[in-house]
Symmetry: D2
Subunit: 309 residues, 4 copies
């Protein structure tokens, strides 16, 4: 049976590019969704087998829709990650010149990444928000008079897909901008341990614990575990109530990770395990001295001998 991969569509989004770069997906079917939520809901309902969604951008930060969708509802886990360089073009219908552009359509995250260029080159253009960068291109290509903008900021592939002309290339304010995408699945067999793994969790604090975040971070530090991302998200209960979305180096099958997770499970109101998976860059985890599996095993054997068990 064909594996079905959902992604944040429509065609031409950076998310689709992420999915295309996931080799294993080439055998499967690719299904676009209009939102992260709808893709993950379909995954939960088993209508698809996996979903590629953005989680973190080097300029705009965490992707709230993804973080929140993973944080509640039936459990899902990350099984892989893909980093995609983000390059924006300014695209328009055939015949439109840069001087003709009075309004620009794109997704708000993309807009945030090209404002410097816009200030310098099209200071009088107004901004029209769209649902995605690809939707901005599509709207331009297929739209009638009323879509309200003369040019779109989108990925080069989206401009090409829709037969638009590129008025300016590589207009992002930050060279080297990257978005990190994750491939999400229903819990099942864990991805194999490679020594170059990451684990993602969502931590909810107890109200009655002083120290709070510091206490949580110590669970990592006493086991020599390095965090690679920490994002606070509102629990939505009241202003100032936050939970923490965290990526750290290591696999749930690593001893130090297992002990840290148990520590977090004890001190947190809830720990949501969101998967262990190989890093895209393949960088082997630099295991801190005395925190390797052999160190933990030796300690456990010693404890057993003390206990006479």
């Amino acid at each position: 049976m064909t594996t079905r991969y959902g992604y944040l569509g429509p065609e031409g989004t950076f998310t689709q590019m992420a999915l295309l770069s996931w080799t294993a997906s080439h055998e499967g079917e690719h299904v676009p969704f209009g939102s992260v939520d709808s893709a993950l809901d379909a995954l939960r309902r088993s209508e698809i087998d996996a979903a590629m969604v953005p989680i973190e951008n080097s300029v705009e930060g965490g992707v709230s829709a993804t973080l929140d969708a993973l944080a509640s509802g039936d459990p899902l886990v990350v099984i892989g990650e893909v980093n995609v360089p983000i390059t924006f073009v300014l695209a328009a219908r055939h015949g439109v010149q840069r001087a003709d552009v009075h309004a620009v359509g794109t997704h708000s995250h993309a807009w945030a990444q090209v404002r410097g260029w816009m200030d310098r080159h099209l200071p009088h253009a107004t901004y029209v928000p769209t649902l995605s960068t690809a939707a901005a291109a599509a709207g331009l290509a297929h739209g009638e008079a009323g879509h309200g903008y003369d040019a779109a900021v989108c990925a080069p592939v989206a401009a090409a897909n829709h037969g638009l002309e590129v008025l300016a290339e590589d207009i992002g304010d930050r060279a080297g901008a990257v978005t990190r995408f994750v491939l999400v699945a229903r819990p099942g067999e864990l991805p194999e341990r490679t020594g170059a793994d990451k684990t993602t969790v969502m931590l909810f604090q107890r109200d009655d614990r002083a120290g709070g975040l510091l206490e949580l971070l110590e669970q990592f530090s006493v086991r020599g575990i390095n965090m690679t991302r920490l994002e606070s998200r509102p629990t939505k209960d009241f202003l100032g109530s936050y939970c923490f979305s965290i990526d750290f180096e290591g696999h749930v099958l690593d001893e130090r990770v297992g002990e840290a997770l148990m520590g977090l499970k004890r001190v947190c109101a809830e720990v949501r395990f969101l998967g262990s998976y190989p890093r895209e860059d393949g960088a082997q985890t630099d295991v801190a001295p005395l925190t390797g599996d052999a160190d933990f095993s030796a300690a456990r054997d010693w404890l057993r001998s003390l206990r006479g068990t």
Copy 2:
């Protein structure tokens, strides 16, 4: 001379409501801006004297545009805060019924807060992003055919301002949703110390320090200081490079706060001080034992006597 207060407009936004609830502003002039950036730029250029901008929402989390605009450029400081309960209505032009609604316009943050209601009551309506909730209402009121949506999600005041009819009230998925706004000014005289103060900083880590975030948080904990918000934001340099926007209890004139700030200044690559200001709720800071000004003064006097200075 009249004080000029900027705000994230247009009229009818929740930000305007925040400014209206700031009593001191009633004597001044209120100037709408199209974005947080443009308001803060005007403030930096001294075209206005203060700006009210959103910083944190109980459902959607930190407001990236504000956090990032405060984190770079000429220094600005927060001088006050206002919390505004967020209530959404579904509004349309006279004569439109709920059954006629095929597309809904609103700001993406508002859409995120009413999706549950929409799924239950208008499951087939498509979403059209707009620049603000007030802009959605305005577009509906003044727009021609092409604006692309039949109803707007906005504040009750925006619906009233634009003569729209309310099709449904209080449609937010979370009762009690609140947005926190801050009044920003150029650095000048510090707001007076009230004993019920908050301080806001942006912390940039050094690359060469192990321990990272834990080391920063310890600077607070060893002085008994309580954090009320921590938000990570990308430095935009590369994926995985983050800085931290933090609110904590206390005023820069408090001894314990001064010492913590000096500690942070030493261990961070950069500390951006973003102001000390009275809490809106007036809740007096519960100063941890042995961290009051008198404790610090006594310790300093003792040290002086040891040093013979």
Copy 3:
């Protein structure tokens, strides 16, 4: 076969009093030794089955001879503890008056505890060190001219045993002085877990670990474990090289203690487990929230479910 209990003798020492108050020993044979070392050596050679030795005095601190003897050589473990109130008398042969006392014999630790009294009442008396307080009494009773002192500072029972007259009672400078003794045995079956237990360890740091003692103490604090005694002892390798003798609340069979011991085992050069045993005062350990066995078991079950094992 009769159980043989060694103790730091001769008869009449506080150590003998400790052994006498250990009810289980009443059925056994009591064997005095001239030093802690010789008692523990006899225990290691299986010539005796247990040894009562002093470990800590409320005025003089840790008993180095005991701490060092436990820290090296074949492993021994503490299986019980006894606290004995320390009361000193000034005793002399029949007919000797206080005014006749020119020199006082006693153990140096006892002398340290009565110096205030001596300064006030016998300021001109010189001090003659003896091997134990009981030895001072014995020397006085049986000695010839040459023993060199006219009165002894000893336990009331030692004065009585040797037919000495008490010239002054309760002459300790600190009311409520107490010595804590431990009953030591060869490793065997662990004393039962009572919920009111202590565990004793000796920790040797690695040279190559920064942070040092702080890192060790964190292994306790992250599991909510309370230390009741910390004593540094030279490793004897070079000046400034120390190891740490530590008592803490809990039993090696407690989950939180097991995990803390494993953590210490990993980060220390060596951990010497010196036993888990019931507290004499029977005070139930106040287990910190979220550190009980049930909390650890639940966390372990959860981890197993994540790992699918």
Copy 4:
């Protein structure tokens, strides 16, 4: 006027050797005392100007008498330190052979350091405690029949002083044994800052503070200060009540030390400052990154600018 230096006598003790190696004392008068207490009392009464006393031995650990005498009573401060290699000889009167030795006199600390040698070479010799190693030699030289021992363990100089014959040289069980002595004075001008300094303090915990020792050590670690000695001493109030004698690198005039001391002053029940003084070995303190005086000054200037003061 001649400076008067007290020391723990009599002549021939290792303490006298320490004083002799303190060059500045060569111009002054040297006054022996029978105990550490009596020397420090004379210093407090201004009968002498300084006192050399032992504080730490590489085999036997802290010298309780010194630690306790510094911890209470009128304030005294350490102004210098001297390390003396400890070498023991077995000495006897002319004509006595090793085979004739049935009893050996020496100070209990010395006895602890030669027991291995004794076990191997004079296993049947009994131990007779004396007030000091020099006193053992003196007793042997001048004593009548009754002194009770045939040989003394003492410093080579003491044997020579008293015309004794050396039966065995260098009989310490640990090669390289060292005792550290400190020169104590009444508080006055601080020793100059050399960059190779130590500071000594005695810390008394508050009963009402959880965390205890960990909280104290963090005051050092957050300022990058390295401890070189930690010794717990009973407060003498009740069993299990301890205070901590601590040496650490740096001078009270160093910024990081000043801030750490202020932190300790706040969280401790009492901090007894026992002096800042140059290390004997002249090893420059390896100041941790970002904890130098310049770092603290820059941070203070920055805070002042924030405060507008």
